[in-house]
Structures are given as C-alpha cells and as structure tokens.
C-alpha cells in the first residue's frame, strides 16, 4: 500500500503544482484572486440634494442639439432614487503596501455632448488614461493638479481626432479638469494607489484585490469632502463599509 502511495506522489505532486500554478501572480502584479479580499458598501446622502442646475449649452449649437430633449444638468451632486450618492471615489488611503497599479486596462475619459463622461474618474498612479473627443467641436483639456510630480498641461483636442494618453506619477485626490472653451465642463481625476472604485447613483461600490490587512478607507466627494473608516480585510470575508454624507 505505501509503495502505491509513493508511486502516486510524483503525478499527484505534478497535479498539485498545476493546480497551484493557476494561482501564481500574473506579471502585471495583480494579487492572486484566491489570496485577495473585498470591500463593499454604499454611500448615501442624508438630506435633500441641492438642485441639479440645467446647463445651457446654446453657445455650442452642436452640443446643444445633443441635449435638446433632455437638458444636461450639473453633476457636482448626483443622487439616485434611493438616496445613493454617485461619483464618490473610494480608495485605501492608509495601510496599503501592495503594488501601486492594480488595474491593467486603460481608463477612459470621454468628451460627449460637451460633458466629460464620467464626471469623476479614478486611476492608479502610472495607469494610462485615454482621453477622447467624440464631439464635433474642439475641446481643450486642462487638468490642474497640485501634487508635485503631476504635470499641469492644457491641450486642444479636435473633434474626432486621435486620443490623448496621459498618466500621473503622484497620488492626488482629485485633479480638477476643465475645458476652457466650454466653461461648464468639469471633471475630476482621482489618482490613487491600489484598488479603487467610483460609485454610480446607487451609491454602491466594490473594491477587489485588497490584500488581507487593516486599512483606512476614504470616500471623497467633490462637494462634501472626505470621510474615512477603518476596515479590516480577511481572506474569504468581504468587509462592508457604508458612508453617509450630510447635505448642507
């Protein structure tokens, strides 16, 4: 009997090795799915949201046309039907020691109908951000970072022309972006290290690939500022954190 087990050792070892190899970290540095944790939660607004003012785009007829039936509105406070607060950036502000770049897909900031889509975008340090202009009109993109290491630039992008690609070197929450030609256009680029999420109007978020440990989780919203929470993440047990911002 022992001899049979020993005879199986090599092939079994091989099988085990093969099984384990599926969990070996990929070259991009992503934490092994099996070894990572998760943080989920919701962000809500307590109180009445300020009125989302209509944006009059009449000075740009090609964009005004796009919003003829549904006028565009301001996006500095976007609240869903269930009170979920959108465009909140969730990230690990303290305690994260994993690789800076978790996301491997380039992030995409679009200019559509003379608005930035999405209004708030998060990227990792060093992650490529692709900016496109899908409008007829020319825009000029002007991100205004403050952190040393993040370069301020101001470039025209003609309608339908080649995308602009940038990346940022230093964490900064968040870099305001404006278009000088269309003063109502406003966006934020949050540059963080590690996993991140940006809520939609359900207010829900999910951070994947969080290595087990204790962290400070920060939620940032452009009008209401930041809130933090301490969170402990363990394997196999998703942590849940909820944030509530108070309407002014």
């Amino acid at each position: 009997m022992a001899r049979r087990i020993r005879a199986l050792a090599v092939p079994m070892g091989l099988v085990l090795l093969i099984c384990l190899s599926f969990g070996i970290p990929k070259p991009a540095g992503r934490v092994a799915a099996a070894a990572s944790g998760q943080i989920t939660g919701t962000v809500k607004l307590d109180g009445v949201a300020p009125k989302a003012k209509v944006i009059d785009m009449s000075k740009e007829p090609s964009c005004a046309k796009v919003h003829a039936s549904t006028p565009a509105t301001m996006e500095n406070v976007v609240v869903g039907p269930a009170g979920g607060l959108a465009n909140v950036v969730i990230y690990l502000s303290e305690g994260y020691t994993g690789s800076d770049a978790v996301a491997t897909q380039p992030a995409r900031l679009e200019q559509k109908g003379c608005q930035y889509v999405p209004h708030v975008i998060a990227v990792d340090v060093g992650q490529k951000l692709t900016i496109t202009n899908d409008d007829q009109t020319s825009h000029n993109i002007h991100p205004m970072p403050k952190a040393g290491g993040n370069q301020e630039w101001n470039k025209s992008q003609l309608g339908g022309s080649a995308p602009i690609e940038v990346s940022y070197n230093a964490p900064e929450v968040a870099v305001p972006v404006k278009c000088n030609v269309h003063p109502w256009m406003h966006a934020y680029i949050a540059v963080v290290k590690g996993p991140y999420a940006v809520t939609d109007d359900s207010g829900a978020f999910k951070l994947d690939y969080v290595p087990p440990g204790t962290y400070t989780l920060t939620a940032w919203q452009e009008t209401y500022g930041t809130q933090t929470a301490k969170v402990a993440v363990a394997l196999g047990k998703p942590a849940t954190v909820d944030f509530t911002f108070k309407a002014k």
């Binding site: 009449s58 000088n180 030609v181 003063p183």
Partner: protein
Amino acid sequence: MTGKIFAILVAIITTISAYCVIAHVWWMPVDISVHGPKIDSQLEETVLVAGTLFIAGQLVLAAFVFLYGGSRAKPMQIPGGAKPLVLFAFLLVGAEVMALSFIGSKAWGAVYFTAPDPNSLHIDVQAGQFAYYFRYAGPDGKFGALHPELINEGTQNYFGLDPEHDPDARDDIVTAQLAIPVNKPILLTLHSKDVGHSFYVRELRVQQDFVPGLNLPIHFTATQTGRFEIVCTQLCGLGHYNMKAYLSVLSQADYDEWLKKQAAMQ
C-alpha cells in the same frame, strides 16, 4: 502695349470691386436697432464718397497709362502744375472730410452721446474665456455684489455671487443667453472676468470691447424680434473663434415667460 494691358486690368478690377460693393454682394444684415439707420446711412454716404474717389483715382491712373504709355512726344506737366492738385486735395477732400466728420458725429452721438433711457432694462454682461454670461437683477431690481474670488465655473457661479451673505444676489438671474423685449430701451454693462473681449451684434450695429477693470455701458433699443448672434471680436485666446452667445429679441409676453423660466432654473 504693356501700358494698355495695365490700364485695362485696372479698369476691370475697379469695375468688379465697385460692382460687388454697390450690388451688396457681401453686405450687412438687416438692421434691427433704433440707432442703426444713422450708421447705415453714414456707411452708404461713405461708400458714395470713397467709392467715387476710388473709381476716379483708378480710372484716371488707367487712362493716363493707356494714353501716354507708348508716347514719345515731348513730356509736359499738367497746366497749372501742382497747384490745382493741392487745391483740389484741400478743398474737395477737405470738404468731404468735414462732411463725413460732422454728419458722422451724429451717428456716433446717437450711440454714445445720448444718455440711456431712465426706464431701460439693465442687464449685466460678463465675458470670460470663452463664453458670455448675463445677469438680470430679479424682482428686487438690485444686482448682487461681485466677488471674483468666489467665481467657480464648476458650480456654475460664473459671476462670483454670494447669495448666502448678500440678499441682493439671491434673486439675481444668471443666464447663458441674452433675451430682451423688443422696442424697449436696454442698458448693458460690460465687464470681463479675465482678458479683453468684445460684444458684437451685427444686426444691432453695436460693437463694444470689454476691458478688464472697467464696467462699460452700452445702450440700444431693438426694433425686431428674432434670434441673433453675439460674437467676440477681441482676440482672447484659443477659443476666440468659438466665443458666442445668442441674443433673442422677444415680445414682452414671451420675454416675461422666458425670464420666469430662467428664474426657476437658478
């Protein structure tokens, strides 16, 4: 031969140019302002005076080149020499100049030397890279104070108003389009948020620069309803070509309704 070709070429160019101007091939759009007819008639006067001098000058040049181009007769000066020419310049041109100046001053005066009607609708206009924003005083008839340090385009506080602490600012109505009632005297005060801009509406026959640091008034009365363009004519940066706003001249009823809608959207 060369001389004749030159002369004919000049004559052709003169004819085509004069035709294009007289026939209004490219011309001003219809005038919709009370003071406009004075400017238009001044322009027509000038076309007449300047056009006559243009045609005369070019054709006399052409005629002399045509006639004397190949001549080898003994050269002669014109009878009287330079004196009649100098006299002509002083008298005829001088007279035209005086006429244009004095009649023209009436057209200019109609815009700038008459005080605005005390019942004017007063609208505040701000130009900034690269859009115009307009402000109506609201029911209290008072404009709130402007605080440049509070300007925040991201939250659409274009004028830097402080409604929290300034009661006059609370009912100010900020719009991206200029709407005015027809046949009502309008007073605009122009100020700039950043660099030099200009306010130009061809149909209104109005053009006035915005000068940073100054609050410049212009006044006019529109005589026809319609939708017109306000374009920037002072180089202000890369977006200069695309800096515009629409002017709507509405009936009083339509204007009141528009203003109510705008107030609700503040």
